[in-house]
């Protein structure tokens, strides 16, 4: 590939502008860090950390950046289609944008946001000092960051993927997609996917093996339950993606015939594998949000969660069903009635446990004392909006009717009605809810609420019209349409809604700055008067989480202890064993980034060098001796006194 081709994307003015702004931004960050002499601080406190809370914060930070990257893609798409035959974007550019929008929002925004919150909260909720494998956890984060970096580099060097986030073959094959765009797709997802798989294993082990004494499985907070089930789905769904992407790489870069149009290849096999992973993926991002809502609704209705057991059961059932429904993504490939009927039925069955959860949340509020805080507002808005997403999902599940919805804006509206209330509102709710735990001050309620209203109203204005457009025969992924189709006005409405959402997200960020400057600092560690264990320790949380690991007798132990005036964290201090920081995860992910980057361009010398370097890191890890360190009692006493304030 010549130099000219390599930077071919730069010929587009808009991409050039984006590229330049990325470079300028990077230079500004580097210059700022140098000027304020923060490199050492950054390296010591963040880049090499193995502390689950800090890793969680970094996840959320990257996720927020990706939210804006994906959000700008979305705004551009809505702007392009706002008027018929608009010339803002050409077909190629539009195709790249909706591809990266999908990839980024699902894999580099929703997933890391969820995983970030799990990192922050789960060990605290089960009374653990860290996750089971802290260094692996750091590696997971850095691999995710490397994958996200790779996908964003594609924008500037070599060309973005443009075959849709589903990348169906043969469109994504070399015959119809000769550039490197889809090699980037395969490797960006592969690397971050491996990181995600490790997260899954790490958290399953953490939750099974590191709970505070007395915390039986059925005494775990609902968010931890949802995290456990999510990680089970991750662990058993991501290997499928790993295989699918490997086969994609083989087909594209080594000429195998898995999805080829000749020599016995089967193009729909890609679609099949993609959705075997892809459907569970939906539940991977949604179930933790269900957990977040459960915590928040119980906290602000000031009541225990209604039907705890059936909440857990329904999540287990959803996790199993999530693996049995994938073919509903291609009812229209000519299956017999039997296959479509089977997958229709399993799909609709998911509505049953989901409905159970909705009713349990509603009943949690009955006889409660509802406080309308910002996180609670998101949780409350979730119920009516998500229900629309759910019932349209059942409509789509009917194979015959799907022949009319498939590939239309109706489908697009449906999954945004599921994913935005089900995931985005969920993580935003969690973000507002747990912010004071991590940073020691609350986000401003007034600003939070106005952002909420912009986002909620904007969302409905942006996406409801798409249902109507879909029923009017408007296919998705069209970069333009003619005026006489009559699709213009509703598209314009949708664009205005998208703008409103944009304003909401800007307010959300402004709120960080404003609250950092003006919010009073927390002193209690329990600003919401909440129920689960993470509120029992200080805010911000000390490195070791709990000076004394509490004993658990029942669900919501902390709440009952508060009512009865017991201090569950009281006890004798002992020295605490903690893992050491390590820069190895970051460097190893860097090496794997370069490995993948050279692989994308089929530069085999680079591939071999960095492949061997990766093995070298594994060997180093195998031979490394690192027993961690102890925090002595004196230091614990000092920290507890400082964080406890006047307590």
């Amino acid at each position: 590939m010549s130099f000219d081709e390599l930077f071919a994307p730069m010929k587009e003015p808009m991409i050039l502008a984006a590229g330049i702004s990325i470079i300028v931004g990077a230079i500004a960050v580097v210059a700022g860090l140098t000027y304020f002499k923060k490199w050492g601080w950054l390296y010591k406190n963040w880049l090499t950390t193995v502390d689950h809370k800090k890793i969680g914060v970094m996840y959320v930070f990257v996720a927020l950046i990706m939210l804006f990257r994906g959000g700008i893609d979305a705004l551009l798409m809505r702007a392009q289609t706002a008027i018929p035959e608009n010339g803002l974007l050409n077909s190629e550019h539009y195709n790249e944008i909706f591809t990266t929008h999908g990839l980024i929002m699902i894999l580099f925004m929703a997933m890391p946001f969820i995983i970030g919150l799990m990192n922050i909260v789960v060990p605290l909720q089960i009374g653990a000092r860290d996750v089971a494998f802290p260094r692996l956890n750091a590696l997971s984060f850095w691999l995710f960051a490397a994958g996200a970096g790779l996908l964003n580099v594609s924008f500037v060097i070599g060309g973005s993927p443009n075959a849709g986030w589903t990348a169906y073959f043969p469109l994504a094959g070399t015959e119809f997609n000769p550039g490197v765009g889809n090699n980037y797709y395969a490797w960006a997802l592969q690397i971050s996917g491996i990181g995600t798989l490790m997260t899954g294993i790490n958290f399953i082990t953490t939750i099974f093996k590191m709970r505070a004494p007395g915390m039986k499985l059925m005494k775990m907070p609902m968010f931890t339950w949802s995290a456990l089930i999510t990680n089970v789905i991750i662990t058993f769904a991501f290997p499928v993606l790993t295989v699918a992407l490997a086969l994609m790489t083989l087909d594209r870069q080594f000429g195998t015939k898995f999805f080829a149009m000749q020599d016995g290849g089967m193009d729909m096999m890609w679609a099949n594998l993609f959705w075997v992973w892809g459907h569970p993926e939906v539940y991977i991002v949604i179930l933790p949000a269900f957990g977040i809502y459960s915590e928040i609704i119980a906290t602000f209705a000031r009541k225990n969660l209604y039907g705890y057991k059936s909440m857990v059961m329904s999540m287990v059932i959803i996790s199993l069903l999530s693996f049995m429904v994938w073919a509903h993504h291609f009812y229209t490939m000519g299956h017999g009635v039997m296959v479509n009927g089977v997958f229709s039925t399993t799909t609709m069955l998911i509505a049953v446990p989901t409905g159970v959860k909705i009713f349990n949340w509603l009943l949690t509020m009955r006889h409660g004392k509802i406080q309308f805080t910002t996180p609670m507002l998101y949780a409350l808005a979730f119920i009516p909006i998500f229900t629309i997403g759910g019932v349209t999902g059942v409509m789509l599940a009917m194979a015959s009717a799907d022949y009319q919805y498939h590939n239309t804006m109706f489908l697009v509206a449906h999954f945004h009605y599921v994913l935005i209330p089900g995931v985005v509102f969920g993580v935003l709710a969690g973000y507002h809810y747990w912010w004071p735990k991590i940073f020691g001050f609350r986000l401003n309620e007034k600003l939070g609420k106005s952002a909420f209203w912009f986002i909620i109203l904007g969302f409905n204005i942006a996406f409801f019209p798409l249902f109507i457009l879909g029923l009017d025969g408007y296919a998705r992924r069209m970069y333009t349409y003619s005026a006489d189709t009559g699709y213009g006005p509703l598209n314009m409405v949708s664009f205005l809604g998208a703008l409103m959402m944009g304003v909401g997200f800007i307010l959300l960020c402004y709120n960080i700055y404003y609250s950092f400057r003006h919010s009073p600092r927390e002193t209690t560690g329990d600003p919401w008067d909440a129920r689960s264990l993470e509120w029992a320790t200080h805010s911000p949380v000390p490195e070791y989480n709990f000076a004394v690991v509490p004993k658990i007798n029942q669900l919501d132990e902390y709440w009952f202890a508060k009512k009865e005036g017991r201090d569950i964290t009281a006890g004798e201090y002992e020295r605490i064993h903690m893992p050491n920081n390590s820069s190895a995860p970051m460097w190893m992910a860097g090496v794997m980034f370069l490995f993948a980057f050279f692989f994308v361009f089929s530069v085999w010398a680079g591939v071999i060098v960095f492949g061997l370097a990766t093995l070298g890191f594994l060997a180093y890890r195998s031979f490394e001796k690192d027993d961690g360190h102890y925090i002595e009692v004196a230091e614990i006493v000092e920290t507890e006194r400082r964080l406890g304030g006047e307590q």
Partner: protein, 94 residues
């Protein structure tokens, strides 16, 4: 020397060899129906897996055995769903 060769391991090894021979019957006897052959293969392969899992890998030796069994069974279930679902959706279901 003898203590280096515990009974369960030796029996497991003999068992796995016998199961391999049993699986080989499907190609030794011509004219076996496809259904019978597949049944034999499924049973012998599953039995081999159990020999390894229980006798050699000691899956049930700790207090975690319940979680471990659940994990492995969950994985096998997902694997079977993937195999048979794919066959249903891509090969059989037309």
């Amino acid at each position: 020397m003898k203590e280096l060769f515990p009974k369960e391991h030796v029996l497991g090894f003999v068992g796995s060899l016998l199961l391999t021979l049993a699986a080989l019957t499907v190609i030794m006897f011509k004219g076996m129906s496809n259904g019978l052959a597949m049944t034999i293969l499924l049973i012998t392969a599953a039995a081999q897996a159990l020999v390894q899992l229980i006798l050699f890998m000691h899956i049930g030796e700790t207090d975690d055995k319940k979680s471990l069994y659940v994990t492995i069974i969950y994985a096998v279930v997902v694997g079977l769903i993937t195999v048979f679902g794919t066959l249903l959706a891509m090969v059989w279901g037309y």
